[in-house]
């Protein structure tokens, strides 16, 4: 059942999504930043990527619970090693997909 104010809801969602994406770009891009802040920003990608991935690999459900027996995790280990060895994005994506497909067949 879709409410009458659907359009307003998605406009509202759009605004609150866009503003946090927009503000830092406009306020930080043309500014001289202190050294510690630049160092901090430089570490953010590694931190965020890790914070995004690890919970996907070893937790599940709502509320989340630890689950170390997920195919996502088993597949991640060889995928990770392949990426370290080859540093190839294309290869890693293909290998990851293949192994996950294989895991689906076997498990």
């Amino acid at each position: 059942m879709i409410p009458d104010n659907y359009l307003y809801i998605i406009i509202g969602m759009g605004i609150v999504t866009y503003v946090p994406r927009w503000l830092p770009l406009v306020f930080l891009s043309n500014r001289q930043l202190p050294g510690w802040f630049e160092e901090w920003l430089d570490l953010i990608p590694a931190a965020i990527l890790s914070a995004l991935i690890l919970p996907i690999l070893i937790t599940t459900g709502e509320p989340r619970q630890l689950d170390l027996l997920r195919p996502e995790l088993f597949v991640a280990i060889p995928t990770f090693l392949f990426a370290v060895k080859t540093r190839s994005l294309a290869g890693t994506v293909v290998v990851g997909m293949f192994l996950f497909w294989l895991a689906g067949k076997l498990l």
């Binding site: 994406r21 990608p45 965020i48 890790s50």
Partner: protein, 241 residues
């Protein structure tokens, strides 16, 4: 670094940006179709799905919004939830701002629209290469956005065009993130920061509902990283690395 005057023709820029976006497009094929199918089951028409994908353009927030809509939630709870779910992009845009120097508000505003987990991860890696610049990154963002819109709307026609689990396509984005994480690791300090962030994220995700664990874990881990760096805990004592 961006050069002052980039004279590369737009044709080449378009090609680079669009090709660069392929892992995201592959991943969106799976997630976008899945979203479309779920949204259609919740009663949204393909047009309404398309509007949401254009106006909001945020994967997990859209999934949550649809489930809230089916549960009868109203404007305020849905918009507030979207805000908290997408707040992590504040951090991503802050980080990207370091690579988007000397641009006007126009290009920055266009760019901001396309900042997602996926485009952030990919552009952050590519900005470290010399050939990448804001125009290519912008094309990459909007290519990914187009893929998202097309796939979500296609799913909205009820078509499960790709059977669940086919070809391991559900794993495309996870594999991409794994590889892009490795691209970010340039010395021991990054390993330490990534390890802290990952473990902290897992612990926090078990303790607090929602996805605020991403922002909290990243902010703390990167801050510790600065402390370690300034205290020279994990890097060689002298010389540029």
């Amino acid at each position: 670094m961006n050069t002052d005057r980039d004279t590369t023709p737009w044709g080449e820029i378009l090609k680079d940006g669009m090709i660069g976006a392929w892992p995201i497009c592959l991943g969106y094929l799976a997630i976008g179709l899945a979203f479309g199918v779920i949204a259609q089951k919740a009663g949204l028409s393909p047009l309404e799905i398309g509007f949401m994908s254009v106006l909001v353009y945020a994967g997990s927030a859209q999934f949550i919004a649809v489930s809230m809509l089916s549960a009868g939630a109203g404007f305020v709870p849905i918009v507030l939830t979207t805000f908290t779910v997408n707040l992590r992009h504040l951090l991503m845009s802050s980080s990207l701002s370091a690579s988007l120097r000397n641009l006007g508000t126009g290009p920055l505003s266009l760019f901001a629209y396309g900042v997602t987990d996926e485009s952030f991860a990919l552009n952050s890696a590519k900005f470290r290469e010399n050939r990448w610049d804001w125009r290519r990154a912008l094309v990459l963002n909007h290519t990914a956005n187009l893929a998202w819109i097309v796939c979500t709307v296609a799913g909205g026609f009820g078509g499960e065009f790709i059977p669940a689990g086919a070809l391991g396509i559900d794993y495309a984005l996870i594999a991409m993130f794994i590889c892009l994480l490795i691209f970010q690791i340039r010395e021991m300090l990054y390993v330490v920061v990534a390890t802290i962030a990952g473990l902290l994220a897992v612990v926090l995700s078990l303790l607090i509902p929602g996805n605020s664990y991403i922002v909290i874990a990243s902010v703390i881990a990167a801050a510790l990283g600065v402390v370690f760096k300034r205290g020279r805990f994990f890097s060689r004592a002298e010389g540029p690395s």
